[in-house]
Point group: C2
Chain length 193, copies 2
Amino acid sequence: MRLLTTPFDLVTGLSGDVEPIRRNLSEMAGMYADQAAFDAMVAGGDPLVYEFYDLGVPSDAGEIAFGTSITYPGKVGAEYFMTKGHFHSILETAEVYYCLSGEGQMMMENPEGDWKSVEMSAGTAVYVPARYAHRSINTSATEPLVTFFAFRGDAGHDYGTIEEKGYRNLLVERDGQPVTIENPKWGADPETA
Amino acid sequence: MRLLTTPFDLVTGLSGDVEPIRRNLSEMAGMYADQAAFDAMVAGGDPLVYEFYDLGVPSDAGEIAFGTSITYPGKVGAEYFMTKGHFHSILETAEVYYCLSGEGQMMMENPEGDWKSVEMSAGTAVYVPARYAHRSINTSATEPLVTFFAFRGDAGHDYGTIEEKGYRNLLVERDGQPVTIENPKWGADPETA
């Protein structure tokens, strides 16, 4: 910052002006249920799973951090490509996502175990209430899932909780449809599970 | 609230689920420079100038208020259709707008008199820094200006300052182009100026 205007393509989500942060599959060790499929895909090219923007808005309660998030189509075994997902470091802060293109779900869970996963497609605004971890999941076989997001500048990202325990639920494809199942590894150390 | 998902059309900005707040021209008395043109347009049908959504997100610092704003094409004399514009009641809070369709400008000014007006079109994210009043202005002759906005849930709207003093600058059309000029009525009581 402080860029007063920043371009983000309405379909691809990409900005010509700023470099995104890219997450290849190898950076998501332990997050997918099918370890053999994960290992094979990493060895076979380590695909780009998602990218997003951090414009460097100051970490202050009066600021609003924003940008786009692009999750690419793909699966690891039966499980759809997704973001790592995170809580906010300041747990009591919400976030809003507005879906610009694609099809998917926003999976949310709070520390007490309440969870919900809501569908989104182009034109859906999704409200992530305070206290809920959130993860974007792309259920399309062909199109990126692109969202515009906004949250309080000082909210921060707590990735560690999800990296350690995982999500309580996973979204997998069965008979061509997305189905939520319990995460068999939930709560275990993902590096040894 | 609490709707976890809310639809907003990516082109029109309209939601099928929620009623927008509508502002017809008659509700903007004193805000346009050309009083005779204003009076004639109000008498001639009182056109809808803009509409926006208030989803009722709780007024809490951990929440994010969001929705769309739609400013229709039109002019009052040489001055483009625009929103009333407002400061946040909590002045030290920012806001982000993401333009979904149309062409226009976001005009901003702070209490100390610093101002800037930035162009936006589909795919432009505009950051309104803390302390800046902000007004959307539609410079297209034919298309609505549609934005998705997000700000802190407790930020609040201070419309009164602008209603009393006006903006320091106006955006008018000259030779087919938008031009910023000083507001001849700035600081005066708009009801008697």
